[in-house]
Symmetry: C2
Subunit: 418 residues, 2 copies
């Protein structure tokens, strides 16, 4: 008999009928002989509705009061799910962030978990209850209500699984697992049976939206086996995410992803003196703007040009900073390129196998896709390409690194904008 932590998102608990379906999935795991803790998000559009209410009261709501407001969303879900489980004849008890003892730092709207006091949780489990926990929320040592920000409910589930030394944390979602790339682009893409935390992290960072990197980081830190699986096909085991040490790696590349939310900026005719790059990136950093890929090149006239990418959301802020920097350094122009996409291959297996980068570049070249910038990390290689080439690049790389399967994935939804 083990401990299983389950997590269901807002669409899975959007109405009473869906809540009953979740109750069935929970009871199924209990009937397997496990102790079950289930973490849920707020119902459907509840959070959006609450944010709208706050905006009607004031254009700049205080973050402490926003946390007080938004945390009610999950509290409604847990009460209703506990009732649904009880209605099937099982013992259940709901616990909000404060009751379950999810202690966070006192930073409202994006608090990090610092501790989980499991005494009360353990006691309720030992009394035979299925525990229904409010995701996304915690409490400071002073008793202030906090929320965890993006990916919060996934992180709540993983952190609770770590604290309880659970056998597994199952993240139920609307996809059947982790695919090597978006099945809406490559319909016959392989679904991974297992993938490592490190690969999942890199995939999440370069555009795969299955799990927020934060929850994967927490799982990696505490070595919690994570399973991404379908809310609709309970017999499907999905993808297991575990430590790389526990895996036999057959393939050098586990996944391919594209991120089209970046913008390339080129600063030309910079003086070739020490401190120029530091000035540019120091000014951006001071304004909280993260830079991704960077290339510096020396022109024939003895000046430098620096090209880099930033997130599209930071564009207006970056432009303001760079105009000041340009004036100060007496630089040439600030050139913008919005029609780009970053295509990445990720794989723990590439560490020991030289030539993967060369294979990637050749494959893109064979498909007439021009590479504008390149960056690499230990288990990832990213190439900046024209946005219109992104889908073809993904298809070519899935073929190149044998990520296709014999059957099509069962996926709905529109093609993503890459």
């Amino acid at each position: 008999m083990g401990v299983i932590v389950q997590k269901f998102g807002g669409t899975s608990v959007a109405d009473p009928q869906k809540i009953h379906n979740v109750a069935k999935a929970v009871i199924r795991e209990k009937e397997n002989g496990n102790d079950v803790v289930v973490v849920v998000s707020a119902m459907g559009h509840t959070t959006d509705h609450l944010i709208k209410l706050a905006k009607e009261v004031t254009s700049q709501p205080d973050s402490r009061e926003m946390d007080m407001l938004l945390s009610t969303g999950e509290q409604v879900s847990i009460a209703l799910l506990a009732m649904a489980i009880q209605a099937q004849g099982y013992k259940a008890v709901s616990m909000n962030g404060q009751q379950v003892g999810i202690v966070t730092e006192c930073i409202h709207s994006r608090a990090r978990i610092v501790d989980i006091k499991t005494e009360k949780l353990q006691k309720k489990i030992s009394e035979g209850n299925i525990i229904v926990v409010a995701g996304f929320q915690g409490v400071t040592p002073d008793g202030e209500i906090t929320t965890l920000g993006r990916g919060g409910s996934d992180t709540s589930a993983v952190a609770i699984a770590a604290a309880l030394k659970a056998d597994r944390c199952d993240i139920y979602t609307d996809v059947e697992g982790v695919y090597a790339t978006d099945p809406r682009i490559v319909p016959n893409v392989q679904k991974a049976e297992t993938i490592s935390y490190e690969e999942m992290l890199e995939l999440a960072r370069v555009g795969a939206n299955v799990l927020h990197p934060r929850s994967v980081e927490t799982a990696k830190q505490f070595n919690v086996p994570l399973r991404v699986r379908s809310s609709f096909k309970l017999d499907n085991l999905g993808t297991l995410i575990i430590g790389v040490d526990n895996m036999e790696i057959y393939k050098p590349v586990a996944g391919v992803a594209a991120d089209s939310s970046q913008i390339r900026i080129l600063l030309s005719e910079l003086p070739d003196i020490p401190g120029t790059a530091a000035k540019v990136f120091g000014s951006l950093a001071k304004n909280n703007i993260s830079v991704d890929m960077i290339i510096q090149s020396l022109a024939s006239n003895g000046t430098n040009s620096i090209a880099f990418t930033i997130d599209a959301d930071d564009f207006d802020g970056a432009l303001k900073v760079l105009d000041e920097v340009k004036a100060e350094l007496k630089a040439g122009e600030v050139l913008i390129d919005k029609d780009i996409a970053k295509v990445s291959i990720v794989g723990a297996g590439m560490v020991d196998r030289p030539g993967i980068a060369a294979d990637m570049f050749r494959s893109l070249a064979d498909n007439n896709i021009n590479i504008k910038m390149i960056s690499t990390s230990e288990i990832k290689i990213s190439c900046l390409v024209e946005k219109e080439n992104a889908k073809n690049a993904i298809k070519a790389l899935c073929k190149e690194f044998e990520l296709e399967s014999t059957e099509s994935a069962d996926v709905k939804g529109d093609l993503p904008d890459v």
Copy 2:
């Protein structure tokens, strides 16, 4: 500089515009130089909506989970009101039942307050904050969320006022104060400037709906001056409810009320032997049915008849019990009279003045109103009359005891069904 506790009900915070109006009333009291704690209920129909959701999940929701669910309603209101106060440039902080330290017994859906831990509340006040507290809810010593049942938010406000030794607790409502009777029946009825806890309690018990008796009882116990006043006319001071010792009493009768929710039951031909009445009322009590007025009379044939009144809600239960009692005691008939109303006069001043009862009976007789039963307490006299005579009885008694004023009350709404 004093401490004022204010309470606003659900209709006063039903939408963002109304919440801004409440914020103005709160800030006004702060500008008077007082520390302010404001207690609010859930917005408009929020509680009804949540109950409906629960009923869609299960026909018999668990009371612990209902408290978890319903307590979110006030938590939404306090966050939004705190935001609205902050938007006017004042410091405000919201606190739910757990944070404010409203400790209750562990009886879900109708818990009683056992303690209020004011340390945190005092600290936030001393930092210059207006405190916005969730009414209707508390927490057990084990950290379980409870709700206080009917009249809960009024009771929260009074209990906090008692714990803080507040100068006053202002209950804002849609009427301008406490009237000697329902102004929809007697438009030129007097509004009381002051009334005693005892009188208010008796009036509440006999049908006046301004305050729940529970909040008045708490105010009386801790000697908290209570003010009932209008949310819409902030300059109007309403009615102050204080201890009878602090009052100068000019009139023997403070108010007249009618309760038409009772049913009269007559049990005929009961054996005139000891234990008969005990059998009848013991059986009713065992089934949790409260009896109000009682008359026992001896018939010429040596049998007794017992007449009494019960609440209409208990009618079906009572009938079942009485059929069994009738069979056991070999009694005659169970006769029902639903067309009755209990008309009461209440006044702390009647204690020292004999003849008030006689004045009441004569006044009713002069108006051709027949009295079916009579009951009295120290500061109350009640007469059971035909339902169709109730309004005339109220008018006659207001005239008799000089409870009319020269001006009409400003009251909207339909005539009550008395």
